[in-house]
């Protein structure tokens, strides 16, 4: 075996007993052993696979949680967005409502710029979002509408529905009383049983179940807009109810017969004057006790 072969076998740790003997007899044997021993001092640093594995698994674990970490803030943002959108749709889906208390009037506009004046103790609502598809106004009480040209919509009350096309009209819906007065253009009125079309100066009313259609070309605007309520053959207890809505009072009119009709007006600005203008023509008197007014026969 050559010198080179012996060394190569030694390098691969393949020497048998006799070969090893031969190897130790080589003239450079000692140099080789010296070199080989010295090589050990170049050994790589200690490597503990178990320690390293543990640290690798920890890193993997922390990366896993990191990857879910971004999810949490995202979920928060998403939740806020959901709530915000929800709130937006809820609020925008809600009806816009206007309400007046006793002795209060307010002016407002519909989304199509139609003007509305709401009389005392009334409420009006509509849905801004669905306005384009569904022009509906819900009314309880009394309101004057000045509708923008070309704008059609319906006023829904418990007593009937009023449909409009570019016009001015007044709707009054109170207990046992429903009146629509057309001032300009034309107005359609639909109750449970009947439907009418009103021309300017015409009015339609249902008082205590009796339907009447009246013509009175005189009025240009409802009188209540100028702080006066006017009545034409209206049962007096309904007049007193209107009085209660315009002044913060309670009226006891139990002594007065319901069949008594009233023609005339009363002001919204002076209670004494208003009371007189109702009672004197009907030969009645009244007694004021704090906010309670008792109506008496003369």
């Amino acid at each position: 075996m050559t010198h080179e072969e012996l060394i190569k076998k030694w390098l691969d740790n393949e020497l048998n007993q006799t070969e090893f003997e031969a190897f130790t007899q080589l003239e450079d044997y000692e140099d080789l052993i010296k070199l080989d021993h010295s090589m050990q001092r170049f050994k790589a640093p200690q490597y503990n696979a178990e320690v390293e594995l543990k640290s690798a698994l920890q890193q993997i674990e922390s990366r896993k949680t990191k990857s879910t970490n971004w999810l949490k803030p995202m979920m928060r943002v998403a939740a806020v967005l959901v709530v915000a959108f929800g709130l937006y749709f809820y609020v925008s889906g809600l009806e816009t409502t206007y309400q007046t208390t006793i002795a209060q009037q307010i002016d407002t506009y519909l989304p199509d710029d139609s003007q509305i004046t709401l009389n005392a103790a009334s409420s009006l609502s509509f849905n801004k979002r669905s306005w384009d598809k569904n022009r509906l106004v819900n009314l309880e009480g009394e309101a004057f509408f000045k509708v923008a040209k070309g704008s059609k919509f319906n006023v829904v009350t418990s007593a009937g529905t009023v449909s409009v096309l570019g016009t001015e009209f007044n709707v009054k819906q109170r207990a046992n009383y429903f009146e629509v007065y057309c001032f300009e253009g034309s107005v359609g009125v639909e109750t449970k049983n009947e439907s009418y079309v009103l021309k300017p100066g015409e009015s339609f009313r249902v008082v205590d179940g009796n339907i009447e259609k009246l013509s009175d070309a005189s009025a240009k605007l409802p009188s209540w807009l100028s702080n006066e309520s006017s009545f034409e053959n209206v049962p007096v207890h309904l007049v007193f109810e209107e009085l209660e809505r315009q002044y913060n009072i309670t009226i006891n009119s139990s002594n007065i017969e319901k069949s008594v009709l009233f023609n005339g007006t009363f002001t919204h600005t002076n209670l004494e004057l208003a009371l007189k203008s109702i009672t004197i023509p009907l030969n009645l008197t009244y007694k004021i006790d704090n906010n309670v007014i008792t109506i008496l026969r003369e």
């Binding site: 450079d28 140099d31 021993h37 001092r41």
Partner: protein, 172 residues
């Protein structure tokens, strides 16, 4: 050849077994190839993390070559052909104390010359020689690690030994 039980290394038991089997070899390979300046332990960690991230795409029998390739590339990116430094330890290795009582610590002159000689080896020679002489790897094991033939490994190691012997000739 038996079929591998798992077709990927995503199971922690498979992953851990692979770690135990290859991490030290990978570490030593990186150390002898690139030296101590680029923390080989970190590169081993990085390579194994990368293996985890790609666990579904790597079969167990491909894991070794994946790890060695990835770790090697990680090193190359950082390394940028800097000089490899392998320093000898100031004290003699512990594991030699008992089994070789005749072991004599060589002087600094000899060790410095040996260090220079090792640095003068080609990278291929150095890695094969150090894995063989220091880590006691058989030629066949090194051949598998480096994806070369046993003959080539033998050639590299013998060549390296010749160079080193010549350079430390006559020194004590």
């Amino acid at each position: 050849m038996p079929l591998p039980l798992n077709d990927n290394v995503c199971a922690e038991t498979v992953y851990s077994a692979i770690f135990r089997k290859y991490s030290k070899d990978l570490h030593d390979f990186l150390y002898y190839k690139f030296g101590e300046n680029f923390n080989p332990k970190d590169k081993v960690q990085e390579a194994f993390i990368k293996l985890w991230e790609n666990c579904s795409k790597v079969t167990p029998d491909k894991a070794k070559s994946f790890l060695f390739t990835v770790a090697n590339n990680l090193m190359l990116n950082e390394h940028a052909h800097q000089k490899v430094v392998l320093k000898y330890q100031a004290t003699k290795p512990k594991h030699y104390t008992n089994e070789n009582p005749e072991f004599i610590m060589q002087g600094n002159e000899y060790m410095d010359q040996l260090q220079k000689a090792i640095e003068s080896l080609s990278e291929a020679q150095r890695v094969a020689f150090l894995l063989n002489r220091i880590e006691g790897k058989k030629h066949k094991e090194i051949a598998e690690m480096l994806n070369i033939s046993t003959k080539a490994v033998e050639k590299r190691i013998y060549g390296a030994l010749k160079i080193l012997k010549e350079q430390v000739e006559g020194l004590n």
